[in-house]
Assembly symmetry: C2
Homo-oligomer: 396 residues x 2
């Protein structure tokens, strides 16, 4: 069999090739690249292909303790990858990327998002990127995700969250899908903010087609990115692995609306595994579009968020002081102190009362009544009436 | 000054008297009764009254370590209580109770609810009770509370929760107020279940007047109870202490709708202090009537509940197996196993594909594709087509 038709010693070509050889999130591929480097890893794979797989295929170095990959796993992985070598010429995908004015990002590139390091061996071999924005913006990013079959309620909340977060300089990350994703992207754009869309298929084809305009708008200031090479079709498995990138790129994951089985819950699961705070927006318990959010709140320790301030508080611990100053929240009762309220309650509606009768009515000592009545007089709730006191006629 | 006009050695008269001498939840009164007993405590108070309070008043036994009441607290408490002795004749309130066919309950009585023991020194000296029900029903009780200015959404949910809980033999405890309270009582009644209403004022006057019919219906099978003696008016302080009884009587506290300052949050606070699970029903984040519930979920570790089954699960740990069998929840994806879904995704929409091309497309080994395709054939998703496979024409 012929060797690979491109120069596997070119790190860019080699890394790009791995986005075609292995499916997103393939941990064995990550372990192999970590051990040999993308180029040498391809070389070895080509060698196995030429020599045939008589004995189990294990890369140079054998089964190391640290990569924790068994002989069987190595062999099964090779069996997964070899078929992909048949027609592999990554220069084709790179020219498809050039055709749409995109760029390839490698780990180590200045623009490579540091947050992806948390994915360890499941980090992408490379990213296919389009758009005028940069992924290395020194800004916090928040993932806002939800179901496609969203309600007007969910879309309104998603857009509002995105607007307020974008106004605070937060990058809104989502999946470019219909429903909540689109509402989040639109919200960020309407606030002239930054937003990133992570696709499950190649960036050459903006998917879904109905969101082409929206994704083009995202690319004006932000980026559209994907792990699979151009020409790759989005599939269920790729959607699920795409979700891990959304979860990794966001420092917080906010689920706005999700059905009981929504893929948004999968994004939340990835965020949880990556130790990112997971937040859920509650909704009517009668709305199936909120069932997944309530499930996250009930069973997965998600944080209940109702506005952007709640989300910013989840970001704050990691440095920035982005949370707006919340107004001081009123107590469970109105401004009256307990003593004052007890004395006021004891005052008859219309007639006046003496200190003694107030003490009996309120169950307080006369000294306590004097203290309470004094404050109530200051606040204008009561006024003197002969030897006693009465409720003020004027509004307190 | 004359002695008290009634026989303070009669335990019932003495205990009843304390519900007039001290305000609900007065911990010093509880400590005094615990030390001397209700009767002797009154006697001592009468003695202090006769002899005047020159030196700080401390009961026989001085300031004991265990009751943790300081000299100053004893003296201040006495100053609170003495004014109440002026016109004290509890026989009057007892005759008011007789007039409405009520009964007085004392700690130690067979019907005394054991749950109140958790209130320790803040437990009531006695309870004034009306209704054909009994407070010692061997059934679990759940508190369902919420704001008066509730929405149709909240009232519907409260009623539905009460109906389903009552159908499972759970007693619904609430405060008899307008809004959520009333909806909870009505729900339980509509299911021919038991419900208890805890009032903030005397049981001689069913409050609020607009709920008289409802409270009369509650008394047919359940009870209306209060800590303050008949003739006592409901005041803010008494509402707050009434809430502690609701929290104590319920094994779980469910807040259905609560504004940011709603008194229902005070009930939840009492429940939290009593180590009762606090549950909150979420609602639209745009509804101020749910702001308090979301606050409980976000800041106070309340459990998010969306139906009666969720509430029953909170009851279950303490013994009964009340929770209905939940249907097995579907996974985040449909029935397809990951392997099957990856193979199916790789199959072209209309044309057939070989094992080899499927392996390349899916990023799987041919052996894995064979395994996956086998299951897909069994489930009717795919069918053989010449040397390859295609998606089934019939519905899977």
């Amino acid at each position: 069999m012929p060797d690979l038709p491109f120069d596997t010693t070119d790190p860019r070509l080699a890394a790009a090739a791995w986005t075609r050889v292995a499916e997103p999130g393939d941990p064995v591929a990550g372990a192999l690249r970590a051990r040999l480097g993308a180029g040498a890893a391809l070389e070895w794979l080509g060698h196995v292909r030429r020599s045939g797989r008589s004995s189990p295929a294990v890369p140079p170095g054998g089964t190391l303790q640290e990569d924790g990959v068994t002989v069987l796993e190595w062999d099964k992985a090779v069996a997964r990858w070899l078929p992909r070598l048949e027609d592999l010429d990554i220069r084709r995908e790179l020219s498809m990327l050039d055709a749409v004015g995109g760029r390839l990002l490698l780990p180590g590139d200045a623009e490579w998002p540091a947050a992806l390091a948390d994915l360890a061996e499941r980090a992408p071999a490379a990213l296919w990127v389009r758009g005028h924005g940069r992924l290395d913006r020194p800004r916090p990013a928040v993932a806002i995700v939800g179901m496609r079959a969203s309600t007007g309620y969910g879309e309104t909340i998603a857009a509002q969250l995105a607007i307020e977060l974008a106004e605070r300089g937060v990058v809104v990350v989502s999946g470019g899908a219909y429903g909540i994703d689109a509402a989040a992207h639109r919200g960020a754009l309407s606030a002239d903010g930054l937003t990133w869309a992570v696709l499950a298929g190649g960036v050459d084809r903006l998917y879904p087609a109905g969101n082409t305009r929206l994704l083009e708008a995202v690319m004006e200031e932000g980026v559209v990115l994907a792990e699979p090479a151009p020409g790759s079709s989005p599939g269920r498995h790729r959607f699920l692995e795409r979700n891990r990138l959304i979860a990794a790129l966001g420092r917080v994951c906010v689920v706005v609306e999700a059905g009981w089985r929504s893929g948004a819950l999968n994004t939340a699961k990835h965020a949880e595994e990556l130790l990112r705070p997971v937040a859920a927006v509650p909704g009517p318990v009668t709305s199936m579009a909120s069932a997944g959010c309530h499930r996250l709140l009930r069973d997965h320790g998600a944080v209940c968020v109702t506005d952007a301030a709640d989300v910013l508080e989840l970001l704050a611990p990691s440095g920035e002081d982005l949370a707006p100053d919340r107004p001081v929240q009123p107590g469970l009762l109105d401004g009256l102190d307990p003593l004052g309220s007890r004395v006021l309650d004891a005052l008859p509606a219309r007639s006046a009362a003496s200190l003694g009768s107030l003490a009996r009515a309120a169950g307080l000592s006369e000294r306590e009544v004097r203290a309470g009545i004094g404050r109530l007089e200051l606040t204008g709730h009561v006024e003197r009436s002969g030897a006693g006191w009465r409720r003020s006629r004027g509004p307190a």
